[in-house]
Each structure stands twice: as structure tokens, then as C-alpha cells.
């Protein structure tokens, strides 16, 4: 079966994010960008499915600026077979990305789309679910385990109360949680091989998708600085302060 893996270009998780001086967003100029870590997990899972003989082809997709080719190339070096870049320079909201992905799914006909459960930039946690709704497919979100089970896919989900196991009819959507796997490094020989794998470039318009934002960002600000905590000498003092100062008990 064919597997699609969307990969997002985000500010590297090691970078200390700074809000732009004009409050319109976060600074991305001259900042190291990487693949969203949850998407690395998604690529890894797809590659493992291919190694097990379950997946036959892996297509990595990124919607974003032309530089997002870098993230596709990284996915190719990890083991994806080819890439599609949906080139767009402005804001892309989750619904727009979901529509783009739907258009590609319609064209490619995959049996499975594995997405990160969220991207570490805006933490929306929406694209996978929206895509499932647009397609009318089943979804297994926050996956910590994915297994082929006959014609179905057995997905273990990390939910508040513990683990939930769902059985999905294919085609289906899976979104990855942190504990699904530990992504491999793209080894040097595979980096060299990735050079020769094809990346196709299209525009949202080519797919018939309108990506005009529906939300207006009013202001972006840094979280308030944390005040230094107080040290207390005993449990008694703690209870006393919770009662008289914090007034929470």
C-alpha cells in the first residue's frame, strides 16, 4: 500500500523562539529550521511499515515555502521514495493544509496517511483530524503503536486515562505521539541517495485549493516572565501561606 507522510518545516526545537518586535508573529529569519519532530516520527513509522513489507511506497509532502524542500529531502534520506512540495509563501492554516492534502490524496490514492499529532510551532493539533473529516476516513490519533491486523490497522492511542486500542478500516488517518518510535538518523549513504529521488512542485491553485486565511492574528506576545518562587521551611509554613497568601485553601 501507498503511504503519504506530510512533513512541516518549523523552527528547530533547540532554538529559543523570539517574538517579532512588531508583534505579528515569531522570528523565523536567520533561524535554524527543521522537520517537525512529530513528523519525523511519522516518517519513521512509514519507513518501518515499508521495511516490514506492509507499505510499498512512501510519498513525503510539505506545504510551505520553497525552502521546505529541505524537509522533504530529509524525509527522502530517512527512506521516503519521492516528494511533493506544495509551494506557498504565506500563512497556511490547518484547514488549508487539510484541503491541500485531500487534493493530493484524491490524486495519489494512498491507503494510509501518517501525520504528526501536532506541529511544535503553533501546536494546533488539527490537520490530521480535519483531513479525516474531509475524506470521511477513520482516524487513529495520538498513536503509540501501529500494527497491521488483517485488512485493518490496529492503533494504540495515548488518551488521558491510559491506552485505547482502535481498529481502523483502511484507508485511514494516523497521527503520531511521541512514544510511537525513535526516528532514525538519515545516514550519510542515504543522504547521498536522497539526492537522486524526485521532488515534484505544485501550487495550491494547481490543486484547486483556496488557502486564504480565515483567521486574523491580532497580536503575538511572549508569555509573562515567571516570578521567582518562595522557599518555605516546613509543611506547616506551606499550608499557612497557601491559606493566608495564596488564599487557595
Amino acid at each position: 500500500m501507498k503511504v503519504l507522510v506530510p512533513v512541516k518545516r518549523v523552527v528547530d526545537y533547540n532554538v529559543k523562539v523570539r517574538v517579532k518586535a512588531d508583534g505579528t508573529g515569531v522570528e523565523t529569519a536567520n533561524v535554524k529550521m527543521s522537520m517537525n519532530p512529530f513528523d519525523e516520527i511519522a516518517v519513521e513509522e512509514a519507513v518501518r511499515l515499508k521495511e516490514k513489507g506492509v507499505a510499498t511506497e512512501i510519498v513525503a509532502i510539505s506545504a510551505g515555502p520553497s525552502a521546505a524542500q529541505e524537509q522533504i529531502r530529509t524525509a527522502l534520506a530517512m527512506g521516503a521514495d519521492r516528494g511533493i512540495l506544495v509551494e506557498h509563501d504565506g500563512t497556511l492554516e490547518p484547514l488549508a493544509v487539510a484541503k491541500i492534502l485531500k487534493a493530493i490524496v484524491d490524486k495519489e490514492g494512498p491507503a494510509l496517511v501518517i501525520l504528526g499529532k501536532q506541529a511544535i510551532d503553533d501546536d494546533m493539533n488539527a490537520t490530521g483530524q480535519m483531513l479525516a473529516a474531509l475524506l470521511g476516513w477513520g482516524q487513529g490519533t495520538f498513536a503509540s503503536k501501529v500494527e497491521k491486523d488483517g485488512d485493518n490497522l490496529k492503533v494504540t492511542r495515548e488518551v488521558d486515562g491510559g491506552l485505547e486500542t482502535v481498529s481502523l478500516k483502511l484507508p485511514a488517518i494516523v497521527t503520531t505521539d511521541l512514544r510511537l518510535n525513535e526516528p532514525r538518523y538519515a545516514s550519510l549513504p542515504n543522504i547521498m541517495k536522497a539526492r537522486k529521488k524526485p521532488i515534484e512542485t505544485v501550487k495550491p491553485g494547481d490543486l484547486g485549493v483556496d488557502v486564504t486565511p480565515r483567521l486574523t492574528v491580532l497580536k503575538v506576545e511572549e508569555p509573562a516572565k515567571r516570578q521567582a518562587g518562595k522557599k518555605v521551611g516546613s509543611v506547616q509554613e506551606l499550608v499557612e501561606k497557601l491559606r493566608t497568601e495564596a488564599k487557595v485553601i
Binding site: K32, T74, A186, L188, I191
Partner: protein, 391 residues
Amino acid sequence: MDHNQPHAASEETRMLRDLVAKFVERDLMPLEPAVLKREATGGGFKLSEEEEKTLLARCQELGLWGLDVPEEFGGANLPLLSLAAAEEEMARACVPFTIPPDSPNLHMMLSVASPLQRAKYLDPYARGEQRSAMAISEPGAGGDPAGMTTRAVKDGDHWVINGRKIWVSNVPRADFIILMARTGDGKRQDGITAFIVEKGTPGFVIEREIPMVGGRRTYELVFEDCRVPAENVLGELGRGYAPMQLRLNVRRMQMGARCIGMARRALEMMTEQAQNRVTWGVRLADRQAIQWFAAEAVMEIHACRLMVQDLAAKLDAGADVRMEASILKVRATEMAQSVLDNAMQTWGAMGVTKELPLQLMHQQVRLMRVYEGPSEVHRSAIGRRTLGGKV
């Protein structure tokens, strides 16, 4: 701002840099505390056999092997710009490990080894199964190795070697050394021949271990009627000097890149401390004295990285780069020394302890100012080429 991504880097270079950076974070950094402790307690700046074995296996798995070695020898044959990026990332960890195989000797052997020598020495060495050392310097001939006096005399199908070598690195673990000795009547470079001498050859004596700063060790070697078979002459008789100097400029580029890696680490640590430490009610980051340390570091790192990239690009294009290599060797080592020193200063007493890597890196750079040509020799060469002087 991210100054670490060179503007014109190719996609492979960028991905290689990412790969090496991950290897450094996951595999090298965790070893650093043990390396610091070992050095601080007199155990030298080195890895245990076990640690080294694990790292070599990891490198093999990731294909981090022979980055600048031709593909027929299992290498990746990358452009030097990629090699520079890898070296820079590796040097952020204060751990004595380089991406295998350690290449200066490899390239000399690649260029001149006979088919027999290839099978017996070069192939296992390229696979990382054997190690080697290079013995050039003598008590009376260091920066100017053409003054060497160790002599080899032909006796039947053997050469008999007598003399003394000093400051030789990597001796205890070397399966063989490449030894430079005089064979002819020629003066200076002329008449110097390279020999492969196996460990344990009678007459090849490790005279003493010489402790150096930074936990490094070099060795003094004595050759007393040491008989080496004629087939172990490496390259042409009397013409060993040129192959020995081969890739001298690549090594200088690698040293420059390593200096940048160390300086980057120092700047990261300086920044961390400056943003956290408060004295007299003010963060160090808000003191002009410390801001200038940081500014100086950023400017110098940037300048040196441009020099490395320029040198790498010209080397790849086959240009004569002796001038650029000398400039980089001097500037990058002195830059790293100063940035490390300022980072130590920013950390106050903590900065001069052996619990932080800064002092140990500082000492490694101190050594670098002597080997591969002392700074003054390079400065003389730069001045001489500029002014058109003698010598």
C-alpha cells in the same frame, strides 16, 4: 540568529551537518564528563577501548566513515566544504574522537603505496582495523623537518635504520608507523625516504612517554640498527618529503574548522552563563565587558568560517592555497584560544575548574598553535610572500 548554516551550503552539506550534530549530541556529549574526569585525575585525554569501539560502530552504522576518502576505499568522497562542516560540529564536544579513519597517513599511503602495501597495511587501515602513527620530528628538526638526521642504510634486501624521533602521537596503539629517514646524500628535502615500520620490529624502541598539556601524550622513539624489509619503502626512494606534505592544507582547513566548533561551544556556554549570572544586581549579559566578549566571539567565528569556506572551495577547485591555509591556521587557532579564554573568564572560578570542558579545549588549542607549523612560522611565510623576502 543562526550563523551556523553557511549561506551557500548544498543540501547534502546541510544534511551531513545535521547528522553529525545529532551524533555529537547523542553519542559524544554524554561521554564528555567521563573524559574530563579521566584527564583531571591523570588518566590522559583519551577514550577507553570500550567507548571507542561503541563510537566506531555507531559511525559505521551512520556511514560517517572516510568522508574525504575515494569511494573505492569505502569512503564517501565528499567535497571539502562538507568535511569542514562535519569537523566543526565534531569539535563542539571535548571528546578525543575524529570521524574514522584518521586520514593524514591514509592520504599519503593512498598516493604512493605499492600493491603489496595496499593489501597488507592500507586496506585494513582504511577499514579501521589498524592504526598508524607518523614519525617526522626529531630533537633537532621540528618546525623545519628537512633538517632531520635519522638515517637508513641499505643492507641486502633490508634497510638498517638508526636515529631518534620525538613528539610522535598515537604510538602505543599504532600497528605500524610511517618513519621518515635520510637515505641519500641530498640536502634538506632531498634524499628523505618514508618507511613502514611495524610495531615490535627489533631495534624500534619506544624510549619514553612525554606528558603534554591537555592530557596529551607524545613519544620519543629510538631506532638502533632497526632492520626493515626493502618492500616497506613507502613511495619513491629519496622522495618521501612531498607525499608527506600532501594534504597539509586540507589538515589546516580541518584544524580551522575544529577551532570554530570549539569557539562555538565556548560562545554557547558564555551566553548561558551571562544570561543567568547576576552580580551586584545586574546580569552579566547586561555588562558591556561581557557583551564585548560575545561580540568579539561572534565576529571572529564568522570571519574564520568564511576563511574555512574559501579555503575549502579553492582546495576543491585545485588552487594553490598555501597563503590561505597559513592565514587560517594562525587566525583560527588564536581566535579559538581567545574565545575559550573569555568564556572561562565569564564563568569565574567555575570556568577554571576541570569540571567544565573550556579549560581542556583551551589546552588542546594551545597544542594546535605548535603542531602543523607553529604560528610564527606561518606568520613568517605570510610576511615573506607578501614582502618578497628570503628563506
